[in-house]
């Protein structure tokens, strides 16, 4: 790279390592910080450090939190009889944003992915089983509808069978606002298989 300043170059390289940031964007961000006041840079640096120091996994559901137990697990208003299993904290955030789910969560930390060498033992499946102590009535498996996500869902189903009254899977099919003719064959078939009573 052709930068007259080593510090600038270092920052551009550091930013370009972030997901979705290319060299050009990294350069723009670095130049912005250079032009901005010192307080802004200090605030950014401190925020990043605080993130690394304070954020950890909830000891119950493995959601991101600054306490030992996250606010969702601590909340008295959540329905403790339903657990929704998701792959990553970002999936939990996506469901929380909707405000349509009032139960608890369990973050697996990924999916079984043989091609990447990820096995069930690398996920938090055992900890999920430990949570099924009789108070939980339903577990919703909300892994993504990918090959790995479906494989993980099937594995969880086998693990939990007989340990909880109801194991459900989030619906798969035609997205809201979509059209049948523009969907792929797998989606259409899964939508037909997962049809529900009109109510």
């Amino acid at each position: 790279m052709d930068y007259s300043s080593k510090s600038l170059e270092d920052l551009v390289i550091a930013f370009s390592k972030l997901p979705g940031i290319g060299l050009k964007s990294a350069q723009r961000m670095a130049l912005h910080l250079l032009e901005a006041g010192k307080e802004e840079s200090e605030h950014l640096a401190q925020t990043i450090l605080a993130l690394k120091e304070n954020v950890r996994a909830c000891t119950i559901c493995f959601n991101l939190t600054e306490e030992e137990v996250c606010s969702i697990c601590r909340s008295a208003r959540r329905d403790k009889q339903i657990i929704c299993v998701v792959e990553e904290p970002k999936d939990l955030m996506a469901i929380e944003k909707t405000g349509g789910f009032t139960g608890l969560y369990h973050v697996l930390g990924g999916t079984i992915s043989p091609l990447d060498g990820v096995e069930a033992a690398d996920l938090t499946c055992r900890q999920l089983l430990d949570r099924l102590d009789g108070t939980v009535r339903e577990v919703i498996i909300a892994t993504n509808p990918t090959v790995e996500g479906e494989m993980t869902a099937a594995h969880l189903h086998d693990l939990m069978l007989g340990k909880v009254d109801r194991i459900t899977r989030i619906a798969r099919g035609i997205p809201f606002g979509g059209a049948l003719e523009f969907n792929d064959m797998v989606t259409v078939v899964k939508a037909l298989e997962g049809r529900s009573d009109y109510s």
Partner: protein, 258 residues
């Protein structure tokens, strides 16, 4: 830059940025190709669900020889594998097939026979209701033959005596099976005549017959070991397969539950 229109099986995929995906494809006419599918993870993407591993798709991509990553512009499902998805055993076996192929084939050299074998393996795996592992055994038997290492499951490599009744011992230094006499007490993995009979039959049977066999647990273990040793001896870099580990683990826990 050329516009390539061909068929492919998705071997692997990686997330790229917010919505895109990098794919490793095994194409019918150009062997292994790496391509980027821009916006593939966007719910409104034209690629929708057809870029998952194991999918057999018709593709169009821009090919620039100097570039490592080609640009995928269109993909449509040719054969959906409805029954593989969600079935741990079938998915693990399907992924093991992809893993083995991905490790063995190199570069953009077409190998239509391997492509056809891959497609028929996945198609049969999708439809199988009985012994799905038999289909993976069939694939291994024929794949290694296409690579030029046809196993001899019927006779001693040293003296030529038939092993199909007596069984044999796997001798890595000889690259295959020898009879007890020729092994000369050198040890090695014992493979029974019944297991060898299945392996030999699989070299000539059709793929639809491959899942009709009903080996007992001892024969199953012997056949698994035979393939493992054979691949390790001739193509060391191909093993171990992570997907097979998942499959064996699933089988173990299924047996334990029963």
């Amino acid at each position: 830059m050329a516009i390539i229109k061909t068929e492919a099986v998705v071997l692997k995929g990686w997330k790229l940025g917010e919505t895109s995906k990098i794919l490793l494809l095994y194409t019918k006419d150009h062997g292994r190709v790496k391509a980027v599918a821009k916006g593939a993870r966007n719910p409104k993407s034209q690629f929708k669900g057809c870029l998952e591993p194991l999918s057999r798709i018709a593709v169009i991509y821009y090919d620039k020889p100097a570039r490592d990553l080609q640009l995928l512009t269109k993909a449509d499902l040719v054969t959906p594998h409805y029954h593989i998805i969600g079935d741990i055993a079938k998915t693990a076996l399907g992924l093991a097939t992809l893993e083995l192929l991905n490790k063995a084939v190199a570069g953009e050299e077409p190998f239509p026979q391997v492509y056809d074998l891959l497609c028929s393996t996945l198609e049969r795996l999708d439809r199988s209701e009985k012994f799905s592992e038999g289909i993976f055994w069939y694939f291994q038997n024929h794949f290694i033959e296409l690579l030029g290492y046809r196993p001899n499951w019927s006779a001693c490599l040293k003296c030529g005596a038939s092993l199909r009744d007596s069984g044999g011992m796997f001798h890595p230094s000889r690259g295959g099976l020898v009879c007890g006499q020729c092994a000369g007490g050198a040890g090695g993995a014992v493979i029974s005549g019944e297991a060898l009979e299945i392996l030999f039959w699989m070299q000539t049977c059709s793929i639809s017959e491959a899942c009709s066999i009903e080996p007992d647990p001892v024969q199953t273990a012997e056949i698994r070991r035979a393939f493992d040793l054979y691949f390790k001896t001739h193509l060391d870099y191909l093993r171990p397969l992570n997907s097979l580990k998942v499959f064996y683990e699933h089988e173990r826990s299924k047996t334990a539950r029963e």
